[in-house]
Symmetry: D2
């Protein structure tokens, strides 16, 4: 056993921290103000990317801090899941950072899908510009009319018709739908209701300008619209795309989804842990500076106990996520199901708890946009639902535990 990160990780980590300190942190508050000014709830059809972003992306790319999430040595940095994990944590310190390094959801997941399962033509047309950061993409899975926690509930249809497939249905919480550069969505839907349970669904690439695609609205998460990405509700009304847009074969949807979710959950959780560190940092600084009843807030009541509990919770979440990443690298995501589910429960809940404490210490300022805290809270709260709610993941863990006793 050894807890020392790899040399490559240490090197990239150092560079990332320096880059963020030098280029991202100084502009962050202004970026968020500008973003709010430009991109409101009402004008979502005219959202734009605040100008600072593209400049920083170019800088990051030039510095080699680009596509670090992708294990491929040429297209990415050749890092294992475990090697990338500490880098995702660093990016998690800022809500803006992941996209600067082309490591933001849902594009990373989509790139992984295309990388692992896409045809050469699909990769050339869609993966390459994504890897270049020239376009953005969307992932359409969740539906408003059914409990999407049970993926087999999915009602949207993807049906073959000659050389085409026809997509019909309604999706929501499709992240990135509001982005001005979003060019396509990967849509998951039901193809064959009579096939074996996990061979019924397909994934297909749908360019957003295809006739029949109607983006209806952007959804707020705790009042935050995450512009210029946004979480949209979209109607697919008899949308036709060539069969060559199907990823893998019809019926491969679940297989692809599983592959997508392993490393992706590591990324999400590590960013959540980074965000929790950020929130704790804000807690510590505010707690030392503000004075009440003659003492710094940190010295009052049980605040130091809270510091200890937050430190413990964050460190435990990090180690568990490292462990899950290691297990993915060793035996694959399917054999690390319980560990992946465990971090999916732990990390967002730790983040929510730490942010809640920080908000409480900040008082009114914590609830406003004067701190990043409500943004981090919305991130935590959404993560407890996205990619499977806590309850579903607890169930997975319990089933794996039960299986140990059946084997024995």
């Amino acid at each position: 056993m050894d807890f020392t990160p790899s040399e490559k990780t240490l090197q990239y980590r150092k560079q990332l921290i320096a880059f963020m300190r030098e280029h991202i942190e100084p502009i962050e508050a202004d970026y968020h103000k500008e973003n709010r000014r430009l991109n409101g709830d009402a004008n979502w059809r005219e959202w734009q990317v605040p100008p600072a972003v593209e400049a920083l992306k170019a800088k990051a790319k030039a510095a080699g801090l680009w596509n670090l999430f992708l294990p491929d040595e040429k297209l990415g940095a050749g890092l294992s899941t475990l090697e990338y994990a500490p880098l995702a944590e660093v990016m998690g310190h800022s809500l803006l950072a992941p996209e600067i390094f082309n490591c933001n959801a849902p594009d990373t997941g989509n790139m992984e899908v295309l990388y692992h399962f896409g045809s050469d033509a699909q990769r050339e047309q869609w993966l390459t510009p994504l890897l270049n950061g020239d376009i953005r993409s969307v992932f359409c899975m969740t539906e408003p009319d059914v409990a999407s926690s049970d993926a087999t509930n999915m009602q949207a249809r993807i049906v073959a018709d000659g050389d085409e497939v026809v997509i019909t249905g309604r999706k929501w919480w499709s992240t990135g739908l509001g982005h001005p550069n979003a060019k396509f969505a990967i849509v998951m839907g039901l193809t064959d209701p009579d096939a074996a349970k996990h061979q019924r669904h397909s994934m297909v690439i749908v360019p957003l300008d295809t006739p029949g695609v109607t983006i209806e609205r952007m959804l707020p998460a705790f009042g935050e619209y995450d512009a210029p990405y946004g979480h949209g509700e979209v109607l697919f009304d008899q949308v036709r795309v060539p069969k060559t847009n199907v990823i893998g074969n019809l019926g491969d949807g679940f297989k692809i989804a599983q592959g997508r979710l392993g490393p992706g959950r590591i990324h999400h959780c590590m960013r959540a842990i980074g965000a929790a560190e950020k929130a704790l940092q804000l807690f510590m600084r505010r707690g030392q500076e503000r004075i009440a009843f003659g003492k710094p807030l940190l010295q009052l009541n049980g605040n130091l106990e809270r510091v200890a509990d937050m430190r413990i919770a964050i460190d435990q979440a990090r180690l568990l996520t490292f462990y899950a990443a290691w297990k993915i690298d060793q035996v694959g995501a399917m054999k690390a199901l319980a560990e992946i589910s465990a971090i999916k429960v732990v990390a967002p809940n730790v983040l929510q708890q730490v942010v809640d404490e920080a908000i409480q210490l900040f008082g009114g300022a914590g609830m406003s946009h004067d701190t990043p805290l409500t943004g981090l809270f919305a991130m935590a709260r959404a993560l407890r639902i996205a990619d499977g709610p806590d309850a579903v993941h607890r169930n997975t863990i319990a089933k794996v535990e039960l299986a140990k006793y059946r084997e024995a």
Copy 2:
């Protein structure tokens, strides 16, 4: 001991429930949409009251469901704190309801202050139109530059100068500042730093059109602006008002604040309990309707245990608040300090917990504006900070407990 509410309470409760079912519930979703359309973050200087509101206020007034919070038999309904408590709970089922019945914060608290401590002239000029629902008002206490959890930190100055007093300072989280009908603020500030600790501060009535009053912005609470009320940040720059605008005498600030906070906290907490009942109701209905893994959500995992825990928590919070209200009525707010602090800790936390569970059950819908849940969450989260954060109230309770041992 007897847990039966008074006849008057039962009668008003019946009427309120009927009124809300008939007039408020049917328009609520539309009201919130319209309110969001009219009153956004960017246009807060042009906020308007959605038209439905004034019509409903007139109806409520005609039905005698008006100013029920005020113990005065003529101006209000002559209800004790305990008698009013169950009515505040009913109003808490809807974020819109309190203002329809002229029972919304901060106007109720301001009306109480003027009722108990105002001069005849102050009552005529400000209390009467408030009681009529013709104008709205603001309460300015919290400041951005100090830890307002320790009220003695307050830096805004209220200084006598001949026949006038001069107000200088910055306040925020001043609820109602964005309301188009808001006419005046009650401002609390420091008058004499050398006086005894609780005789240093004063309260003064400041018409919002007085020169030197600059409303700078509205603050979001978890992304919600609570239009058309709003929580504002305001600068008082050498603002001069006649000395007759001082409530009571200079130096009476704390005494008045104490009186303001007793029944007001009962109102807040009972509304929070009503809101928690609403969230539980949404939980139950969604849990029965939505199906996952072949069962209604309620039948899955530990959801029924959660129902039990929420039911227990809400019922306990209600009983504790009734008890605190009863104690205020029996011995006055000053001798019910520990009980008032206890409900101030309990009720908002119960609401936050119940709403969080409901959001989790609803999934994405729960985070959006398609349900009232994030609004209720913001209410809970703000209440844990407003009027003293949890930590300050826990301290009060502990001090009262300690005092029992010193006496003995």
Copy 3:
């Protein structure tokens, strides 16, 4: 609504407090030492009642502080469930007190059963000496071989055979089985497996000296044997008693059990609340006296927050139990099912939590017999299981909640 206890309650409460201060508290530590010396694990067949007990019982009887639990005006004190509740709390301050006032489990429950359902002959033979405190009794329900949380699992048989009934089966956690004065057990068992679900079981009086009754051992609860009562395991091997020993009719078992459990749970919970007050009192005193790092323990870390949380939890538990008692008195135990289940969850958990905190503050002393804390802990821990585990009661509450939506 009114939270003032009745005059009778106030009067008895005052007397009880005085009696306990004068007669019980001074001897309590010695009593427990003596009890441990006399009555160990190994010698349970020779357990004796420490001599101080009978003298105090006589004093309590003479003072009229006797059988206060029984609503009957002649045999008891004529107090309602709600009127008795605050008195049970006072008795809960001492593990020794309930028996001094002839208000201890399981005798109270057995007296209630005989009072409400017993024949005249049964009352004369068994109820009268119990009311006099001359004998003790046992209640046999739980069985080692099945999950007794589901009472319909019960396997012991009670079968009619001519003028007799024959009892066969194994029971455990039968409280009082070790008491030298225990003369009989009320045994519950299965009579007719084919009858309607709640008409299958019967209750029968079994004198402990009946052939076929074999007490096999006393069971420790967290190492405590609760001598001289004890919790025993007992075998009924073809035990024959006259049919006149059946309480009510064969098949009435569940009906009687339900009646037994309503007020009994109020008693248990109020004693638990009294015990929690005792533990908090010990916490406060130790926390003021002991010094670490230059301060009284109470002033360290989050200890004052803990005091507040404990005070809140205890007060909420008390109010909820009063409310449940009031509802039993108003509409009967069957219509107060959810409330009774709620306190059954709340009160023991509050006690466990408060005692755990007190033990933590006391350190090593708290784990030993130098304080009553581990005894109170065992009481709390046992109560979370006895009379239905938490999970069963949460289920009941959830079912009642669900029923509200089916009605509507």
Copy 4:
């Protein structure tokens, strides 16, 4: 980073598991019964080691499963702290196992002290027979009259007098004092109240048959006496031993204590984690076998969620402890203070929580001696106090966190 244990660890782990399955598990229930029969509260001066123990110790020694805790290649197994950690976990599955492998507290800690700080003579006289398992030892630190959570409170005196030192004072919770083979205690006490804060105390070896040493009683922890070790209270009345019995020099007490506590806390915590795995195993098995309401208990209510939460908590505790062990090995215990404190908070609390759940599932059986659960509970509860209560460790963690901000 790599989570694979070392080859040596894997090999020893396999052997240990096999040994425990073959030799310890089969006799465990009988051992505990026999131990209770032989060694009660009342006869502690005549306690004996149940005969099975010495035979198993001989077997373990022959198998090379002996003194694995000691890093020394010759005297122990040459394992690092991290390498030994998984082995301590395995031993934690049984309360009996640690002593069979000569890896039980407090002897391990005492052996480490003598190994690192003892003179050659001390090692020969005391370390050698301890390593052989021929004698047992005691560690005397905690005192009844002061808050021992603040070690500087310690009142016992160790004063030089010519060639001797004189020990005076009272200690309790001195583990091992009841053991028939206990030959000496390492006693910590105050030598020079005027020295620098951490140079005031000394450690000295006191043979238990030295005049003036009076063992007064054994203390129960939640009713468990942990015979034949026991936790004793002992009076040192002008006890004289030669100065050569001082470990290191007078004034070295704190320095030695610190060294003692690093690896020792890893051992304690890993055993606690092993115990938690044992409790979870019992939970799973009982939950599958017992039926209530027509289903295995595991399928009822939120039990599967509890399984998930327990699995997560145990895995997180284990990873954190491995990390702390790794850090001790890398940079020494003094620089791993926060990590050591973190596991000291986490592991016992996880154990307590898991055991509490298991007891709840077992019902009455769980509270009795029919399962090892109350023994494991007492272990958890004691660990939350021993070697510094949770609050002290949370404080340490918070201080280390604060220091990061002062440095920056």
